[in-house]
Amino acid sequence: MWDGLIHALPGVFAWQNVLAMMIGVVSGIVIGAMPGLSATMGIALLIPLTFGMEPLVALALMAGIYNGAMYGGAIPAILLRIPGTPAAVATTFDGHPMAQRGDAARALQISCLSSAVGGSMSALALMLLAPPLVLVTLMFGPAEYFWVAIFGLASVSVLLGKDPVKGLLAAAFGLLLATVGIDNVSGHERFTFGNMYLVGGLHVVVVLTGLYALPPIFMLCEDAAKRAGSEGMAKLRASAGLFHEWTSFIVTWIRASLIGIVIGILPGAGGSLAAFLAYNEEKRTAKNPAAFGQGEPRGVAAAECGNNADNAAALIPTLTLGVPGSAVAAVIMGGLLVHGLQPGPALFRDHADTVYGFMIQMLLTSVLLVFFGGVLASRIFAQVLRIPPAMLAPCLLALCVVGVFSVQNSMFDVYLMFGFGLIGYAMDRLGFPLAPVVLGVVLGGIAEMNLRMALIIAQGDNWLLVSSTVSQIIIALTLVVLFVPLIRHLRERRREARPAG
């Protein structure tokens, strides 16, 4: 592991990669600061643009956007009480009251430093846990990989959305999309409807941009009628440096980081859950819980640290098992595949410099937040809140068009992207989670290939699919994940049926 990290260092510190990390962090903060835009959308928008770049440069941009956007969401959360990203909701509880009493600059400093600490701890956890975990996957054969893919899909589908049926339906839709094109084993065309553009299958970037990037842009166009500029923004006054009092946050940071890391590793749980849990735990253990919600600095520190501690940790199951821990991780996995990087042991063996380099980039981009997220920088980034959505949305649409076109120089891809944008918009409005669709597209090929390989190895004895202990453990975990909502539902019904009092 240490060898891998040391070997990757020269590549990480090449000037192109350092520049890419800086650009990524700055772009991420801008994206996160814009209400309606998220890290997921930013990376989805970026992936087509990284074609032709060295993988490490592309990953540096993704790492920067990821960490930057997760902090950037705090800027409008504190200044306007509008969370820039869903994960920044918990930051509004104490961040905005602080801003209202004239402490906006201090709240931003606390959230910036807490984000940097949480992100760094998370990156260290990724470096320490991913390499040993990937060794476990060496015990996996095709049957085990098939079940891992099913487990990943089931957990993201059931845990990410509010309705498990819609989540599973979304995942199945993604799997179906993955089967479009020529079957690699038999050479038969599936769902191509005689269209030669579909023979090669659906490009993951086209599906990803359509489903993730377009719906929020359409909603931004709708919002443009209601929201114009930054009325009611809290003033940013100079504040004494935070660095002399940082020791008072150490316990908060350790607690919130641990919560964020554990939540990040669990498939399906996201940054917003980590932020809420870290905030609640901080409030629960505080000497004066009543101060929370009134502008308590520890509330801001816990929420932001927990939120960013989830970032790199969500990549642990992504890089080792190919099972993303969050929606952003699912999109990053799409980005890895686009650059020919298949998660699993082969990634650590054949592309060690890239994967270890990416881990270091996750750490460095977290540290860069301290330099790019200070008060002066936040003052500048807060100006993006003045960009009217009516001007921003058309630019983002034009960027999606040029990005997707340049993937394969195909206008057909652009039409497909628009079609997926409409489907994504409808699914979002109907309450379907979109991450399972993308995960289905990404994992569909892997699941089918491993299932068919396992069946060929079994030579008609299908019992072999479930005969190994590893397979049985994964199947048991999948069943637990699938039945958790049912048990919860039954428990709620029993509680409701009980007479009051």
């Binding site: 839709f173 179906l176 709708e222 009516a390 630019c395 076109f405």
Partner: protein, 142 residues
């Protein structure tokens, strides 16, 4: 009786399931196995969603927040995509950006400045920086 939007969506999914089943049935057994498993699962899930929708009360939130703006955005985007090849990416973008921005409420000097700035940046990054060949249109493409 009005159907809940979840039930309507479930019916749409069932229609897709039916079409996919017919299409995949023409393919050889081995290649069709996995898609058929997925289509069958989608059918069962859509049926459950239909029944769940029947039990749910009508949603309070409208499906679309601002129909005029959404229709304008969708319509202009389709026209823009259709125009990219014959007219060229840059010319189409120079018309699309101010048209949509103005249509959904942007006013003032920012509209032409951002339009020109954005188009120039795309040229600089994609054409000059990454040597990508974007559609130039019938007028300029020889």
């Amino acid at each position: 009786m009005t159907l809940h939007r979840d039930s309507i969506a479930a019916l749409a999914v069932l229609a897709v399931v039916g079409a996919a089943w017919v299409d995949i049935s023409r393919v050889a057994v081995a290649a069709a196995m996995f898609p058929q498993m997925i289509v069958a699962a989608m059918g069962i899930l859509a049926a459950i969603m239909f029944v769940q929708g029947m039990r749910r009360a009508a949603p309070e939130q409208p499906f679309v927040d601002h129909a005029r703006n959404l229709a304008l955005a969708l319509g202009l985007t389709v026209a823009y995509i259709a125009a990219v090849e014959p007219v060229g990416y840059f010319l189409a973008t120079l018309v699309f950006l101010p048209a949509l921005a103005y249509g959904i409420g942007a006013r003032g000097w920012a509209v032409p400045v951002v339009t020109l700035g954005f188009t120039a940046t795309v040229w600089l990054v994609f054409v000059y920086g990454f040597s990508r060949r974007l559609p130039l249109g019938m007028l300029f493409d020889n």
